[in-house]
Symmetry: C2
Subunit: 94 residues, 2 copies
């Protein structure tokens, strides 16, 4: 299966543990998973990453954290910049 | 002056631009500044970093992003883990 979309977990409005579980499920079959979030959910992304690491200790580690911003057009037609975060989690080399 | 405390900007409850201004002021005299935040303010820290980079473009860049968690004792006496973020901004090598 070469569907790389599955390597991404987008953080939305579901309960926190939903994302923790899906990340751990994805990590079972893939070498690395990236957690992506933007705006106010960026803090939830960090919580998810920390929980995944804590629950699966010492199997996985955070390999990279990237922050950036994206330009969105809001409902009133103006451009708004929102902050984004990408957290990559990979298997620890034993 | 060897007071390294000034290299840190802690994100709290002040308006966003307060932190953007203090970061830029600190960067004028120091090689690098670290923006620190925990809990829900982590998303504000990312906004601050993005605004600093955007406003001073191309003078500074993000050199490192670190995420972690801290254990706090909440008011009801229980331990709570909160997520933290440290964003380092340094001068671009011209």
């Amino acid at each position: 299966m070469s569907n790389h979309q599955n390597d991404l977990i987008f953080i939305g409005k579901k309960p926190l543990m939903t994302y923790v579980t899906s990340t751990i499920v994805q990590l079972a079959t893939r070498p690395s998973v990236t957690i992506k979030a933007r705006g106010l959910t960026t803090s939830i992304a960090i919580d998810v990453a920390q929980l995944v690491i804590k629950k699966t200790k010492p199997a996985f580690e955070i390999s990279n954290v990237c922050i950036g911003s994206e330009s969105l057009v809001s409902s009133d037609g103006r451009n708004r910049d929102v902050s984004t975060i990408d957290i990559s989690i990979k298997r620890t080399i034993a």
